[in-house]
């Protein structure tokens, strides 16, 4: 792939930018592949990339029913953090964050990872106790975490209402300074371009309509662009995981809900940190373009519509204004929704399925973006070797039989 750099831009400027290579090809699907990844979002594209880069597979395809990065990868609020409680989660998300720290240079695509800090507020004695417990867990897992006093919070986020008059007065907060935001589309495009450069066929507008399974082993897929053979198939389709699982003959403990997000009009810099309030469930940051990017809770009815309704939108905005009352006259520019695959222990499912050769990465709920590098890395490892990596061993589908759940939402006050 041609190298991206300031110099390459300058050189191409001389020819009116008419010589740039396509970021990825649009190949016709081959009849067979060594491995197929279903789902062209961040996770699927990362999986394909690691399959070729780490495991040396040669013929790999990504099948995407729409346009790559068009699902939750293109709709999220772009937060990256590893402030998790249990050692299994901490190791997983910290690995992901470490990959993010070097991803721009590895993929030669600027993903604009801004490590501006992720601050979770505390509004009560109990909140602060839980934050301390989380912070200590993180530190023992080798992850950065700090407890901030109210004054320190006020200094870090001047626009926040830290007065006693606030509806949910702030007692302090917990911050992971290495957490932050990145440009979500760039992550998908960066992985796509790097995977394509290593020979991965990215096939867009190709929907999987069924699996061919022979004596418990998967042998290929049926798609809207024809049948494609492979004995090694990974599913990374987030909110539509249950639909594909049904086609492969097994059920998942996954419910799909709409999750909304919204942006304001672009403003001059006013917020330098990612802030989350457990009292209202609202979280926000400011993008490098200047828009406030705001998220909140799920629309709590099952839906694949990729849109939510007004009441939840109102709750999220109301929650934001409870934290930042001076943003009342700022205006909402757009709001949208995605489909989140939610698992009741708020932890992902990465690993084998009841079908031989068929692997699964799902259950990312509202928190899949930060996990893209680790999720792709682990699914690739599991697909290539047939066994989970140390990092995803605890997140198998079998944990619902053994009861070894990793319930992050229950353990910490950080919503997913």
């Amino acid at each position: 792939m041609s190298h991206y750099s300031a110099l390459s831009i300058a050189r191409n400027a001389l020819s009116g930018h008419s010589n740039w290579d396509p970021a990825w090809r649009s190949p016709e699907p081959a009849a067979a592949y060594d491995a197929i990844v279903i789902g062209g979002g961040g996770h699927g594209l990362a999986t394909a990339y690691y399959l070729v880069r780490v495991h040396g597979l040669v013929k790999v395809a990504v099948l995407e029913k729409g346009w790559i990065g068009g699902g939750n990868t293109g709709r999220n609020t772009t937060i990256i953090r590893s402030n998790y409680f249990y050692p299994e989660s901490a190791a997983f998300y910290e690995f992901s964050l470490k990959q993010y720290e070097r991803l721009s240079s590895e993929l030669n695509f600027n993903i604009m990872f801004s490590q501006r800090g992720v601050l979770v507020l505390g509004h009560s004695r109990h909140d602060m106790e839980m934050h301390r417990r989380s912070a200590n867990a993180m530190r023992l897992n080798g992850i950065d975490a700090d407890i901030l006093s109210r004054d320190e919070v006020a200094k870090l986020v001047p626009a926040l209402d830290c007065s006693p008059q606030a509806r949910f007065p702030i007692w302090g907060g917990m911050i992971q300074r290495r957490g932050g935001t990145a440009r979500h589309d760039a992550v998908a495009w960066g992985y796509a371009r790097a995977a394509d450069a290593r020979g991965v066929d990215i096939i867009q507008n190709c929907e999987v309509t069924g699996f061919t399974i022979h004596q418990g082993q998967v042998t290929g897929v049926e798609t809207t662009r024809g049948a494609i053979k492979s004995n090694r198939i990974g599913i990374a389709v987030a909110g539509h995981s249950s639909i594909l699982a049904a086609k492969a003959g097994f059920r998942l403990p996954v419910k799909s809900y709409a999750l909304q997000a919204m942006v304001s009009e672009p403003l001059k810099p006013v917020l330098d940190t990612v802030v989350l309030s457990p009292a209202t469930g609202t979280y926000l940051s400011q993008s490098d373009k200047g828009e406030l990017v705001i998220g909140g809770g799920l629309d709590l009815y099952a839906s694949y519509a990729q849109r939510g309704n007004l009441p939840v939108n109102e709750n999220t905005i109301t929650g934001m204004l409870a934290m930042f009352p001076t943003f009342s006259r700022v205006r909402m520019l757009r709001h949208w929704g995605g489909v989140c695959d939610v698992v009741h222990d708020s932890s992902p499912i990465i690993g084998k399925t009841p079908v031989q050769g068929l692997y699964l990465s799902c259950g990312w709920g509202t928190g899949g973006f930060k996990a893209i590098p680790a999720g792709g890395y682990c699914l690739a490892h599991t697909m290539a070797t047939g066994e989970p990596h140390e990092l995803n061993a605890a997140f198998g589908l079998d944990r619902f039989d053994t009861g070894a759940l990793i319930d992050e939402a229950a353990a910490a006050s950080i919503p997913h």
Binding site: Y4, P87, L140, R167, D288, R307, L310, E314, A410
Partner: protein, 890 residues
Amino acid sequence: MSGARRPGGGRIDRNRPLCFSFDGRTLSGFAGDTLASALLANGVDVVGRSFKYHRPRGVFAAGAEEPNAVVQLEIGAYLSPNRVATEIELYEGLVAHSVNAWPSLGFDLYAINDRLSRLLPAGFYYKTFMWPHWHLFEGTIRKAAGLGAAPTQPDPDRYEHRHAHCDVLVIGGGQAGISAARDAAQSGARVMLVEASSELGGRALWAGDAINVDQTENLTILTRTTAFGYYDHNLVAAVEDCSSGVAKERLWKIRAKQVVIATGAIERPLVFPGNDVPGVMLASAVQRYAHGFGVAAGKRVALFGNNDGLFDYATAFEAAGIEIAAILDTRRGEEVIGVKGRKRVRAVQTSRGEIACDLLAVSGGWSPVVHLFSQSGGSISFCDKRQMFVPDKAVQQVRCVGAANGDFDLNTQPWQSRAKGKAFVDLANDVTAADVMLAARENYASVEHLKRYTTLGMGPDQGKTSNVNGLMLMGDATGRTPDAVGTTRFRPPYTPISFGVISGARVGNLMRPRKFLPAHGWHQTLGAVFEDYGWQRPDAYPQAGESLGEAAIREARAVRTSAGLFDASPLGKIEVWGSDAARFLDFIYVGTMSTLNPGRIRYGLMLDENGVIIDDGVAIRLAEDRFLLHTTSGGAERIAAMLDEWLQCEFSGWDVRVLDCTLQWGTVTLSGPNAIEVATALGLPVEALPHMHFRADQLGNVPVRVARVSYTGEATLEISVPARYVKSLLETAAAIAGVTPFGVLALDLLRTEKGYVHVGADTDGMTTPGDIGLGRAIAKKTSDFVGRRSLLRPACAREDRLQLVGLESANALPIGAHIMEGSNAPCPSGGFVTSTCISPTLGRPIALARIREGRARLGETVKLFDLGQIFEAKIVAPCFLDPDGRRLHD
């Protein structure tokens, strides 16, 4: 030359002149002007600088589709960032500033970006700024990005919501909308008509005429109201700009049986080099300024277009006194290949040579405003003949009429410029035709990739004048029809709406209710310090010079030595009755309630289906078929709902009924060695009432319920009376000598000394009964109960689970400190501290913790980590006082 006020014409009131200021210049306009029309009338050519290249830009359109004239309105508390000048009604004393230029609009240093534009193509930031690190560049880029600045003062304005229902909602008060509304009203239906402008008439207004429609009993007309979102089940949301009244803006939530969309159409520009110079405007805007506002946008106009509208425009412009320099029709092979001028059009370079003019009116076709229709779920399709996307299949009860339905044909022909030079597709985000070509070349060919890669359509105008041109260019570049390329997804809001109006009245105390105890006032008179525990509850009652912590210790000691008084009114009180009540509670609880005798109390643990503890409390048998459940105060509503769900979904044939009576009863806790004596002195029915027994009685006409159950470790009575009498009970009890009111903090000290679990603090979403030492009760129970199956899973049987134990240490251990399973951090965690205090009774630090295999490690010394500090502690049994519970009994 520039724009100027016409000597006559327009729907402005020339008898009401208004003064306003823009970038510090005092200017004048008239009532009826928008800020944009007034700026044009004052000959202001440059109203802003473009987003990326900081090119001078002028007013381009006359409606919400305006991409250039973004201003900062007002200052201080009334500051409103990023307002579009075409949508601001002029008022006396208006103050506005341009945005995105430094140091000034006239002399903007960032204009260097325009010189460097070849180095700044679409998506350039993905290809660079990587080395050494993004952070090096981010600060500068952030400062350069953004348009207006956020306010820093609290919002002085108020906002409201209003729900409304109607049979027919008509969106858009132009001719088509008015017709539809009138017809529907005549048929007797309840009709609402919403119109974004201050007057009805739509395009008639652009010709200078308004249409008057009277409101009737069944026809409600809302002007200055923009419908911005179409949601499920025919809910349409609209924002009303209230010019008078207490609220500034009102959010209407309108549920209509049928919706008629009459939102008209927006004119498209043409894409050619130089098409962004101030003085290049949409032809319909020039017409609207001329006849709607009495402003000639220029003296001498060249008309350039690809449809039949050109001829009517020429007539309209001439009638307004604007000289026609030329009419260039692409269908005749005529075209503009360049524009001379930088801060104002001076001439256009055309296929017919150079033509001097100060105004270039362009018309590239029309796009029906299908946004709301698409939001409703309706599909749209591209009509080749009319060169527009039109509504296709509706999914909800909605139809489109008039221009919004594409009901017109101007013989529009597609045209693409082949001339060299910067031709802008999206003025708001500085996206050029070359950028679209670049996106096609790099295979960002899907319409959504095109948008995200080039940022086309992502500005405050959301691409109203650029999306269709952009996708048509992409189609040309990749051999696809506009239908095949498709549009990006339409999302609310149609135009930006303030966060304040979305939140409405839910600010401050109205954001979420606070719950106050029935005797709140009494606690206040005692100097209680309150904390929000779901209810506002007294943490403690500090006396003069006492800190909160000192007060809590004093109160706890009073409980241990004499008697304490606690307001436990939020205690959950759920009545369960029926012939199957006992059987039902055996299913709900870990313990067995069917063997409880009337008048007896049993500790009750409730699990969820994962076997995790969700509540602990007691169950009281009132009679053979009647129980009273005391749950945690936070749990009552949730538990009552959970019980009802089981009954309705699984056991609908059982004779059991449930009622949450928490709010009916106020509860007072009397605890301490003298508690029984005090209760007797009060005349309460406590004679010979053993621990874990219950008695109900009547004192006069006041029903009293007494449960002898303890959370402090001392003899304790929980006395419930109807909430209206709880203050009397508290007052009288507090007046007795040796009785000390105590708060939540003291209660926490007392129960920690006893090792009594606080669900949610000592337990979390993974804790099972075995973890807190109650595993044996489960092993004995043979009947099914909620969570039983999950407890049989291997993970619940493991020996190395976190188990509740006590900790003794030299220094007080903070809650949240972790046990270290290694000598230095980082190392694995072996559990954590869940409760802690300096014991008021023992005078030394004690703590509760959940520690891996804790019960097998009594006596062991462990190291703990807390934010870099290391502690040492000894694992002990989780009960520091009176382990046999002798103090509970007489």
